[in-house]
Amino acid sequence: MAPAETPACRIASLEEVRSLLVQLKDSIRALAVDPGDPTARVEAQRLVHILHEASVAAGAEGLERMAACMATALDGVPAGVELSRPFVAALAAAAERFDDLRRGMEQGKPADQGQLLARTEEDFAACAMTRPPAADGPEEIDLGEAVERLLAEELEVPAELFSEEPEETGPLSVDLPAPTAPPVRGPLFSEAEWEQLHIGFHEEAEEHLQTLQQALQRLQTASLDQEGRTVQPHREEIAAIRRAVHTIKGASAVIGLNEVAAYAHGLEDFLDRLHDGTRALDPPAMVGLAEALDLLGLLVASPEQAPLARREAVLARLEVGGATARAGAAASPVAPTGTPAECGRPAERALAQVGSATLRIQRQQLDTLIGLGNDLLANISGLDRGLERFSTALTELGGTADRLKTSADALAQLSATGPDPTDRLALIARAVAESAADAAAVRAALEELRGDVAGELGGQQELARDLQAQLLQARLAPLALLTPRLQRIVEDAAARLGRQVRLVVSGEQVELDRVLWEKLADPLMHLIRNAVHHGIEPQEERIACGKDPVATLSLGARREGDRVVIRFADNGRGLDFAAIRDKARRYDPSLDVEAMDERQLADLIFAPGFSTRTVSEMSGRGVGLDVVRENVRDLRGTVGVATRAGVGTAFVIRLPLTMGVVRALLVESGGALWAFALTDIRQLHRVDSRDISWEEGTVRLDGATLPWYSLPTLLGQVEDPVETSRPVVLVFAAGGRPVAVSVPRLVGRQEIVIRGLGSHLRAVPGVAGAAVLGAGQVVPVLDPAELIRAARLRADEDRPEILLDISRPLTVLVVDDSLSVRTVVSRLVASRGWRPVAARDGQEAVTLLAELWPDCIVLDLEMPRMDGFAFLATLATMPTRRNIPVIMCTSRTGRQEREQAGRLGVRAFLAKPCPEEDLLAAIRSVTGLADVGAEGR
């Protein structure tokens, strides 16, 4: 690039220099935080070279030489070698000296160029980054320390809960190294999960590569202008390609595929210029783009076929022929090392082979089909009830026909005794008799029709059930899916704590919806860690007790009717009720702890925040068992605990097999219909009203005395003064014990689909949802445990019950078009006991927000259908949601993007790939958890 020929050009070039320097300093700051950040490094490299060109254009020799020095230093570090911190410091110092030179020039007080340059060269020489550094290589994450950190964070208070003092204080105070590798490496994922992430990335990348190939094809067939350039309206295709490349870059970076990320970043620069119009899409550019995209596919599928030299050559060819040739580097065009055909087809074949044995279907599509199957079954069930009413009407018709015949006979007799058999009365009698006969015939025909319809309806029901079962089968997976992961958790925890523990699994073939297993994974991991850390005694203690020194954790699953029962047990020391009671006194002094029985005390261990609210400390996030209960509740299941001192503890999780259609019991109270899921009902009895004590609120049932409630009372209705001598009583589980509820009238059973309560009523205490019956009637579906709890709170009863202010977990909505990023961030959120909800883009997020009320939103910028800025604009129009704090997490971290995000109300702006702690800190900050304590949740 020739120096500026006019003062105006020179001034403009200097202005560009100043702007570029600001961006370079941003990149250097990012490298100072994370020297292994590939995006920041590539960006810094790019900016340094552009800075050099701008300096040449400005005719500023001093700046030119300083920029060249920085470029040479950066270019001299081999790819794949992480920058050392001294090098980054030298780079930062060089940037400052560059700025000093620039200011000196602007102010007419030139600094000593020679001295500044010499110092810069000395700094870089001292770093010796041109050869692989021995001591500054990428740090390895110590998984043992990471597990230790998890244990310390998640099990810290249980150590106090279940024993007199923490057995080991050292592990609870380890300082972990700052994460330098991509966030996903580390304690969040086991090797098996890591493999799954890679598989998921490749599947996701295949989709994006197909998208960009299709867009490229459209570009290639687009009409050209006279100079052979693609006409402007095809910016859409360029945008689609850019978005796909951007997503591949982000997803690969987050799972540590740095080479892919770096190459995609270089490609993205070119695409940015195409999109902005600063680079024309002439035929050479088109060829270069096609080659570059093909190589991207090859790099994803078969990295060994896309070595660094080839990648650099392809990127260089993109630059050649454009307005900005790279100065300071070899400028001669490099011959292509492979034709686009050679690059593209192998890549496509390689990727296609990954999934050739399966048919890929959108998960949303499958969920839609399952939903339709559920609705079909529920509708048919509604028809069933209609048929019952039809039968009732038929019976009435039969009775009417009989009465008509009786009247006709009486009339006939009356007319026969009259003077003239043909008189008018006789005619009427005959007419009535004929009508009676007709009515009877109609009844018979309808009866036959009813039989036919009932038969066909039964057949439809069977078909619908089969359809539902087959669709659900597509989502089913066995327990064996989780076993490797759980095994690893046991091994890690046991090794760290010096225990010998074996995991025995039975019922691995039991199948559940894959989603259920995913939701159960975290609870099971919490149970395992809890058991190893607090349930299992040290070896010496076990030997002294005559136990096998190798402790056993048993995990079993079996089907019981329409439920799956999962049992997790240890043969450790059992729950320490004395410690729990002591804990309860400190947690809530108002609790009548002495009156609580062991079952109620055991129920306390599931309370979130219970173990953190102690006299000795306020830190720590709790036992993690609240996560167990919360997750199981989300699945409409129950969890119970049984324990025996010195023998062990067992947790029993019961889950309904299907999440869509449930069998419900319909009851009537206060003139309205209500539904209970059959899975919630333990028993159903008809009791003698004399066994119910209204004053004490109890009922005697099968020799036991249970707490008793009346459903109208629970619903806030007026009690029906008419009492039945043998009322119907349903037995539910509430607060860990059976509770009886009498209902005025049973209506029947029906299969229903439980839906939300609409956009206005988010959650109503005691109501799980609503169901629409076949006739269009809406029926509330009651949550008996919550209904009872709400009634108790309302009545402020003085019962020895756990009146805990159990707050719901923090809900984080993760909006990102990359499956890998959604997976990683969701796992990070869940590991903190928070609840992640994921959306693929802004549009899906808006749909979810109709019924979801997250505590914060983590939002990507570049997404299909609705990008981050469009989503923010839409969010601002939602009066009930617009105050939800948003954290933007994107790799597009330019000043424009930051400013725009700020204008649209973003509370925090993070650069991808984002270190875990930064994201967690941002979430805590924007949701106000920052003032609770470092690990208050």
Binding site: L757, G758, L761, V764, V767, A770, V779, P879, A908
Partner: protein, 195 residues
Amino acid sequence: MDACSRPESIDRGDGPLPAGDHRRPAVAAGVRSCLAFFLGDTELALPLTDVRETGQLAAVAPLPNLPGWIRGILHRRGEILSVVDLACFLGLPASQWTGPGQPYLLFRQSDLACCLEVARAGVVVHPEDREFAAPEARPSRPARLTALISGVFRSAGRDILLLDSERLATALQLDNPRPGPERRAETGVPRGEGQ
């Protein structure tokens, strides 16, 4: 509402503005079409853009543990909607609940949708800008109603209170159990800063 009973009658042509409030109700002035309706003897209106339909309520399923101004829920064309006793919500004399057949307005404001139970749905009116007046505070008028009125206009000799849709939607929301950073900021706790 009877304009003649107001202590200050306003001649929009050349009369003085009401003392204490010299602002023009800009929001109300921008509304071109409204649907008027009655809650008892009080006539109100909502912008037509926020009232998608009127009709008669089908069977409403009651729900427990909710404020008394929520009648329950109903099902309408595949959607579950809540039913709000608007008179009760606004603090006006309660309307006679006649059950199925009670008139309602389907109110939609951004992400909120619910059925507003009314005594009688009126007609569509098209107030001119000059017909709007700022709402006056009246001791007899419930505070919540006053807070939700964006303007008053006269039509056919009647005063009609125009409700602000956004404020109404916000007011209808049930409490979020988790206080957000804004509420914490009110108590002096600093909010998190963006990067």
